[in-house]
């Protein structure tokens, strides 16, 4: 079979290329370890969400003061108490601070007002850190307030929620796996075709009875065999070294990862077919990676974005992957509960697989 000949040839070439080998094996290890060391062991900031129902300016003084607190950071803004509670429940944030309607008005009038803090109580060290932080914030705020308005006070009330017990490390795991599974395969395969064109080997290749499907799928298969290692390395490091628990079926997590990995390879292949040289291909791979990262939903929940940004996010495969992987890992879902993400990832993969061979021309002009 011609396609097997291409697969064997590509694997031999990969084996002899130290740069590619380092990329396949070392990048996932390095990224995982760096990130594990950075976020592991309870260090790092605790993420919280803010719901600001107030229309005055004093609420912003409070938010500003929360932002300046070293132990927490504001990850998202929600529009309602329910939304805020959901974010805690599904483990997106560890707490939500709700500033009530008329907050500024009541304080200026000299009456007291209440700030609701919805806390995830599943990890006690985190919930107590949040309590301490909020106490400090309100204390500081009151001291400044007393100077201008007499008699007013801010009271903290807490509402307990039991989230999925997500550690910081776990919260970032889907994103890191997503980064590895997009960056490595895409940039690795993005030079596959244009390297042959640049070196002149393409001319000899297409003077043999090879079809464009043999070329594209032979290369894809070879790189898939090679980059499956990346999926396994990242998962293994997460589960065994960092003790991240995948609550859903591991095999489902692998299926989702494989879909995304194939999509990334297809994307890289498309870049390779369209690029004139290797430099251009590398740049394109990185360029596409940046918006994928920004709209992945890992830094800020998609629901919090502006409508136009939300559309972009909905077109970002990384978003579906991170979300699907999260649901399996944290909520313990199986594939049947995340059919929408699986469907989106399958469409992405299929589209990438089909486009590259259609665009490739077996000519040298």
């Amino acid at each position: 079979m011609r396609i097997t000949a291409v697969v064997v040839k590509e694997l031999i070439q990969l084996k002899r290329d130290p740069r590619s080998l380092v990329m396949i094996a070392m990048i996932p290890l390095i990224v995982m370890l760096l990130f594990g060391v950075g976020y592991g062991g309870g260090m790092g900031k605790i993420s919280i969400a803010v719901v600001n129902l107030d229309k005055g300016s004093l609420s912003w003084t409070v938010i500003d003061s929360i932002m300046k607190t070293p132990s927490v950071y504001v990850k998202a803004y929600a529009n309602s108490i329910e939304e805020g509670r959901e974010l805690v429940k599904d483990g997106t944030v560890s707490a939500t601070v709700v500033i009530p309607e008329g907050f500024t008005q009541e304080l200026m009038r000299g009456t007291s007002t209440q700030v609701l803090v919805i806390v995830d109580e599943s990890i006690t060290t985190i919930s107590s850190t949040i309590r301490n932080a909020m106490l400090a914030v309100t204390y500081k705020f009151q001291q400044e307030l007393v100077r201008s308005v007499q008699g007013s006070s801010v009271e903290l009330i807490y509402s307990s929620v039991y989230g999925p017990k997500v550690t910081n490390l776990e919260a970032f795991t889907p994103l890191v796996i997503g980064i590895v599974l997009q960056l490595v395969p895409t940039s690795l395969i993005s030079i596959a075709i244009c390297k042959e064109k640049e070196r002149g080997t393409f001319e000899q290749l297409i003077m043999s009875p090879i079809s464009r499907y043999d070329i594209i799928f032979g290369k894809l298969l070879a790189f898939f065999i090679a980059t499956i290692a990346d999926m396994l390395i990242t998962l293994m490091v997460a589960v065994w070294i960092f003790d991240v628990s995948v609550r859903g079926p591991l095999i489902d997590a692998m299926v989702v990862s494989t879909l995304f990995l194939l999509g990334s390879l297809g994307l890289g292949m498309l870049i390779s077919v369209l690029s004139k040289n290797q430099l251009q291909a590398n740049q394109a791979a990185i360029f596409i990676f940046i918006p994928a990262l920004l709209f992945s939903g890992a830094f800020m929940p998609i629901d919090m974005l502006s409508p136009s940004a939300r559309i972009l996010a909905n077109l970002t495969p990384m978003y579906y992957f991170v979300s699907a992987f999260r649901e399996i890992m944290i909520k313990g879902f199986g594939l049947w509960q995340i059919t929408w993400q699986v469907f989106a990832l399958s469409v992405y993969m299929a589209l990438m697989m089909v486009t590259a061979p259609l665009v490739l021309r077996l000519r040298v002009d």
Binding site: R2, T4, A5, V8, K9, I12, Q13, R16, D17, R199, G200, T201, F202, E203, Q204, I206, M207, S208, P209, I210, R363, V364, D365
Partner: protein, 312 residues
């Protein structure tokens, strides 16, 4: 089938630049056809269009009856191709390169391996079969490229500047391989800008500025330039030119050491030489020697191109 290659009205334009201009060409089955011309004459473009690697702007191409580019997949089965630039995988070994292309042609198992062994033997590459192609010398690379082109026993070999940048002894050896293949019936189309190599060809096409300036056997081309074969005749004593010029086409005449050295032009030296000698003899002139002069193709080429440039 008489013709391996039939091209008519072939034209390729890159924007305003006409790389190949209304080219007509026929190559017979079983011949070595040399495509000559300076760099940029349009040889590579013509070859690429012939192989369907590039679309022609106009004109028809038939290779063994298959029209190109429509029936390119048929062409590929019967054609071996060697590109101008070394275009095999430098990070694969000699054997791996041959194996890969062999498999693409559908060879496998013992068929493939015995064919590779045969070619390694024929091209004297046995000792370096496990060496990476990138580490081969220029001559070895060229032989490997020929080996890959031959893997499927093609009827037609298309070689684009196969000997560019290779030392003369290696070039000569390479032509030995080509002649051997040709004897076995392989039609060969080869481009070169080494004029001495072109002497090896059965027929030659001279290309300049995208046009075919002249076409024919090396002999025909030489005759065409001077209007016939050049023969040098040495006569005893000082002979006045007038006597001879009456019935011979004398190009020039000089006296050396009491002898007369004539350069005359005959339409066909092999036929006319004996009768001419008899004629001179009957006139009482003593012929010391008479031999055809070897005109180099380089002279022919320069002459033709100069004429062509003047006409343009």
């Amino acid at each position: 089938m008489e013709y391996a290659i039939e091209i008519s009205g072939l034209t390729k334009k890159f924007g305003d630049f006409v790389a190949v201009d209304n080219l007509d060409l026929r190559v017979r089955v079983g011949e070595i056809f040399g495509f000559l011309g300076p760099n940029g004459a349009g040889k590579t473009t013509t070859i690429r269009m012939m192989c369907g690697l590039m679309r022609q702007s106009k004109g028809t191409i038939r290779i063994y009856g298959y029209s190109i580019p429509e029936e390119r997949s048929e062409l590929i089965k019967i054609t071996g191709y060697m590109a101008q630039r070394f275009s095999l995988y430098e990070d694969l070994s000699v054997y791996e390169n041959m194996e890969f292309f062999g498999k693409l042609y559908g060879l496998n198992g013992e068929n493939l391996h015995s064919r590779i062994r045969e070619l390694l033997e024929f091209l004297d590459l046995k000792d370096v079969k496990d060496r990476l192609a990138g580490r081969l010398s220029g001559g070895m690379k060229q032989r490997l490229a020929l080996g890959v082109a031959l893997i499927h026993r093609p009827k037609l070999l298309v070689l684009d500047e196969p000997t560019a940048g290779v030392d003369p002894p290696i070039r000569r050896a390479f032509w030995e391989y080509l002649r051997g293949l040709n004897k076995e019936g392989t039609t060969i189309l080869v481009t070169t800008h080494y004029m001495d190599e072109a002497e090896n060809c059965d027929r030659i096409g001279l290309m300049n500025r995208g046009r075919l300036v002249a076409e024919g056997t090396p002999k025909e081309l030489k005759r065409r330039v001077f209007g016939g074969d050049l023969v040098q005749v040495v006569l005893e004593g000082h002979i006045q030119g007038g006597v001879i010029k009456d019935f011979l086409n004398v190009k020039d005449l000089k006296y050396v050491d009491g002898e007369t050295v004539l350069r005359i032009i005959l339409k066909d030296a092999s036929k006319e030489l004996p009768s001419m000698l008899r004629r001179l003899d009957s006139m009482g002139l003593k012929v010391q020697s008479a031999e055809p002069i070897n005109v180099t193709l380089e002279e022919v080429f320069i002459e033709l191109v100069t004429k062509f440039e003047a006409a343009v």
